[in-house]
């Protein structure tokens, strides 16, 4: 009975196994990126970038139909273009980077929806906006796994400067020139992982599997390494439970995954060991020293 509900779907159906593999790859790479996004106070930047990917993916869709490969390539190009343009506008004018990003992503979203509507149907639009993790073919799965691997390798290379730049940017500037390149590499990783998540969860929810587990982890640890591990586990668990939920009910897979991640987040906000609400309301007697 329990076996049928929790493991059965994956032994029985290949598309469920593929979906599970994809979601674990997404969790491994996306969650650490999410932790850094959160700690660098860039959570909403991630969200804005996710929208920016849309027109690129839409152009890919326009050129070669629902080919995930073409849409990925388009998404990467559009994401980088918007990230760089927003950075340039922010640096060459007085506009803050978040404001200039907001402008670009609103324009991108409008443009993307327009492009998809020109050729496709409403179903296509839904697919682009919310993804379909149950439709993973071999090629797509390989792309997802490849992007995840690249992400972890690059993150290992830029880890030290990225951490120092997050804590004390001025210090890093005085001892090394690695700060700028590390920041750019990090932005590139954000784009890569958003495109990755876009396959499974669509443009609107892709950032969810990065940010929500990161937020969850924040309530359980004060240590960066532990935080990243917790975030990865939370993301993988959300993916698995979301797939089961969507299999057993009629909830679409992408929203199901994000809803489970949200549940974990809410539980953490309430009961988290570090700054959770219950802990704050009932802190126990104060200590001696």
């Amino acid at each position: 009975m329990i076996y049928d509900a929790l493991i059965g779907p994956f032994t029985e159906f290949e598309f469920m196994r593929r979906a599970l593999a994809a979601v674990i790859a997404l969790a491994l790479a996306g969650a650490p990126i999410g932790v850094f996004l959160m700690l660098r106070r860039m959570s909403l930047v991630g969200d804005a970038m996710a929208h920016a990917i849309l027109p690129g993916a839409a152009v890919g869709f326009l050129l070669s139909g629902l080919s995930l490969f073409a849409m990925t390539a388009g998404g990467l190009i559009a994401g980088f273009a918007v990230a760089i343009l927003a950075g340039v506008v922010a640096r060459s004018t007085g506009l803050k980077e978040d404001a200039s990003l907001a402008t670009f992503y609103l324009a991108s979203l409008a443009l993307g929806v327009t492009i998809v509507s020109i050729k496709g149907t409403n179903i296509d639009l839904l697919h682009v906006l919310f993804g379909n993790i149950l439709a993973m073919d071999d090629q797509t799965l390989l792309v997802v796994a490849f992007n995840a691997t690249v992400t972890l390798l690059v993150l290992a290379v830029i880890y030290r400067p990225l951490v120092i730049e997050s804590v004390d940017p001025l210090f890093l500037r005085t001892v090394s020139r690695a700060g700028g390149p590390a920041h750019l590499a990090f932005l590139a990783l954000v784009v890569i992982n958003l495109v990755n998540g876009f396959q499974a969860l669509g443009t609107l929810l892709a950032v969810g599997l990065m940010i929500l587990p990161a937020g969850t982890a924040r309530f359980w640890s004060r240590d960066l390494t532990t935080m990243i591990c917790i975030a990865v586990v939370a993301a993988a668990v959300s993916g698995y439970a979301g797939l089961v939920l969507s299999f057993q009910t009629r909830v679409p897979s992408g929203p199901a995954i994000i809803l489970v991640a949200t549940m974990l987040y809410i539980v953490s906000v309430l009961f988290g060991r570090v700054g959770g609400i219950v802990r704050q309301l009932f802190p126990g007697r104060h200590l001696e020293a």
């Binding site: 700690l39 290379v157 030290r160 400067p161 951490v163 120092i164 997050s166 804590v167 004390d168 940017p169 001025l170 210090f171 500037r173 005085t174 001892v175 090394s176 690695a178 640890s221 004060r222 240590d223 960066l224 935080m227």
Partner: protein, 251 residues
């Protein structure tokens, strides 16, 4: 060979000078206090020395020092105290020169980090997140990092602001230890008593240099009055400075 050589240097923002036509040398191993009223250009000068700010005119020579040979303790630290990093790891970043991107932190390095934390009197704080420290403890942590940087030129921007007397005394002892080890130390300060008692040389700055030399000769009431009279605001409609070869003084 001087550790630092200012060649008619002007530093500032948006073409407005904050340090105006400064020339002079700092001898290797000197212990120099930089004093002056708020807005006199002390921080600007130090930022110029460490290379964060490019001079508007003139140049600063570091006597063959690399940027990595300089340890800089800024006044308003942009440290994100909420970032989950322990005192040990944070102080350890001071070893950047030795470890760079990938260098491992071996047993010797760990000993060094623990030693630095002990020298600033923070034994037992190694695993505390930096977010839980008090202002004075954080300043001690920053000094520990400077200690690890093992720099031949140490630049401190108002390092004793908002710090109690005990901590100030401890940290001042570290500064004198650096001086004893032959390192060049520059510090922007406000406490005249401390400057008089502990710093051999003093630069009185009020946008332009007012006086520079042995503390006993420079730290006179006359010089301080001149410095205090400095006009703080930039003149938005100021003309381009013509005195490019003459060293001018702020009125």
């Amino acid at each position: 060979m001087a550790a630092l050589h200012f060649h008619n240097v002007t530093l500032g923002y948006d073409r407005h000078p904050a340090v105006h036509h400064l020339s002079g040398e700092v001898a290797p191993g000197a212990l120099v206090a930089v004093i002056g009223p708020n807005g006199a250009g002390k921080s600007t000068l130090l930022r110029g020395i460490v290379g964060i700010l490019k001079p508007l005119a003139g140049s600063i020579h570091l006597g063959g020092l690399d940027a990595r040979d300089i340890a800089y303790l800024p006044q308003s630290v942009e440290i994100d105290r909420s970032f989950p990093i322990s005192v040990f790891d944070f102080v350890g970043t001071g070893l950047w020169r030795a470890t760079g991107l990938f260098g491992g932190i071996g047993r010797a390095a760990r000993e060094k980090i623990l030693g630095a934390i002990a020298s600033v009197g923070l034994n037992g704080f190694e695993n505390r997140p930096i977010g839980t420290l008090s202002g004075g403890q954080m300043q001690r942590v920053l000094f520990a990092r400077v200690l690890l940087q093992d720099a031949s030129l140490i630049v401190l921007d108002e390092p004793f602001n908002a710090i109690d007397t005990k901590t100030t005394a401890d940290l001042l002892a570290l500064v004198k230890r650096w001086h004893g080890e032959g390192r060049t130390v520059l510090a922007a300060l406000h406490d005249m008593e401390m400057v008089r008692n502990h710093f051999s040389d003093t630069l009185v700055l009020a946008r332009g240099p007012v006086a520079w030399g042995p503390t006993a000769e420079v730290l006179t009431p006359e010089n301080l009055i001149v410095a205090m009279r400095m006009c703080e605001a930039f003149d938005d409609s100021a003309a381009a400075c013509a005195a490019d070869d003459v060293s001018s003084r702020a009125a």
